[in-house]
Amino acid sequence: MSLMPSIINGASMGAIYGLIAMGLTLIFGTMRVTNFAHGAMLMLAMISAYSIWAVTGINPYLLIIIIGPLMFVLGYCTQMFLIRPVLRAESDKNDPIGVLLLTAGFSIVLENLALMIFGADYRMAQTSFSNTVFTFGNSSLSAPRLFGLIITLGVSALLWVFLQRTEPGRQLRATGQDRNTAALMGINSEQTFAVAFGISCALLAVAGLVLLPFYYVSPSVGGVFQTRAFIVVVLGGLGSVPGALVGGIIIGLIETIAAQFMTASVTSVLIYLVFLIVLFVKPSGLFGTKLD
């Protein structure tokens, strides 16, 4: 039996974990806020995309032109109207807990709204290519997973170029490294936070659409990914975008390859074991820098 399919499948799932984690790490790295509504926002992207697909039958990947901007606006507004007032009120506190509670509460609201409107059912977008399989030699690869891997890696590269090479990307990094000094350069940190939040949610749109053709959608779908994303973010190094991708792929690979040799519960243990070993050897994570 060839390992090739599980490597591709694992890398694909892992890259999606990585993409989701990148959104989380982008918000943390820029705002020092942990967004507990990240999974719920992924769920929102998936459910809205599923609903549009169910009505129109449009190729889910094309839906990015609708879901991407919508999620960006959702993220932007979440910072501007929900988080900003709380951040301002807590600006002189050393450990602001209010924002964490706010995002956790927001996640409950989103999940319950989804339950009311969408129902608790698990549904999957059976697209024309959902069951397509490519055969290479004696191994076969699922089409949506292969496409997912390519799209996810491409978007990660785009994010990297945006952060490293563009004016707004540089502003985002500067704000993350020292928001008070960034203000002395004329940078409006609250607006930069909103852009970071918007991009984070747009990444969730990509992740959601890539998952759509092969993953079940339900109001509770965010939970699994949020837990994975937290592990990946810490594993890769808080605030590190390349770390999130590498961390995600490592987790994805362990998950699928190990699944061939052991039961699922043992696989989870294995993931946490790797996680602990990495943190033991390098407490700041694989690509982590010291935060002050």
Binding site: R170, M185, G186, I187
Partner: protein
């Protein structure tokens, strides 16, 4: 209507319940080097941060060309051309020297001058050009101070406020930094210099304010203060 570049009238400020500055009156004239000196904890940094909009003014006003600016947030104060080089440099540690300079020209109205300013700064501080691609957190203290000043110059300051630029530098480098300040001033930039190195500050500036426990204790032409018996005893160790 005042004709001072910057005027601080009866300003009170501090950190929440901790009141630090009391009824500060101070003005900066176009083109001059003004220094503010004082011992540890006198309130010099608090004054800088208050002018920059990083701390709220609880009473009084701050006028730029006669227009009140004390209600503006920090990023808008910078947009007005009131530029601070903060105490301890505060570079963006995980960015290169070049990127730190680029960040200085983030604002739209200074973006057009980016290339011109870069050339000017690299020419003025060739050491930075050599280290262009090096991370800011790997620079020596002196290089970091040069970069912090260069980054501020990228913002086309109307008034450049330097908070203890000589802090932690060797006597030789202190001289270099003060020479740099003279050059910047000679090129036409107004400078507000905060220093604990009182001797050098008095030498380089035209006028000086002495802060003590959050109030202005003395003010006057630097050439007079340098001979003042109290200043000599308290700050110059004579």
């Amino acid at each position: 209507m005042s004709n001072h570049l910057l005027e601080i009238k009866g300003v009170h400020s501090g950190y929440g319940d901790v009141k630090v500055l009391h009824d500060i009156n101070l003005y900066v004239e176009e083109g001059e080097i003004l220094s503010v000196v004082g011992a540890n904890g006198a309130g010099k940094t608090t004054l800088m941060r208050t002018i920059s909009g990083q701390l709220p003014v609880t009473a009084g006003e701050i006028l730029l060309h006669g227009t009140p600016v004390q209600h503006l947030p920090a990023h808008k104060i910078a947009a007005e051309g009131i530029i601070q080089v903060p105490e301890g440099r505060r570079l963006f540690p995980y960015m290169t020297v070049h990127e730190n300079l680029l960040i200085g020209s983030t604002m739209k109205h200074v973006r057009a001058d980016r290339q011109k300013n870069l050339e000017y700064i690299y020419n003025l501080l060739p050491r930075l050009k050599e280290r262009e691609t090096q991370m800011a957190n790997t620079l020596s203290g002196g290089e970091q101070q040069m970069l912090a000043i260069g980054r501020a110059l990228m913002e086309n300051p109307k008034i450049l406020m330097l908070d203890e630029p000589s802090l932690g530098l060797s006597p030789l480098l202190v001289g270099t930094v003060f020479d740099l300040i003279k050059t910047i001033s000679a090129a036409g930039t107004t400078v507000l210099l905060v220093e604990q190195n009182v001797k050098q500050a008095l030498k380089i500036s035209q006028r000086t304010y002495v802060l003590e426990n959050g109030v202005v204790a003395m003010e006057g032409p630097s050439s007079e203060l340098i001979d003042d018996p109290y200043v000599k005893k308290a700050f110059l160790g004579l």
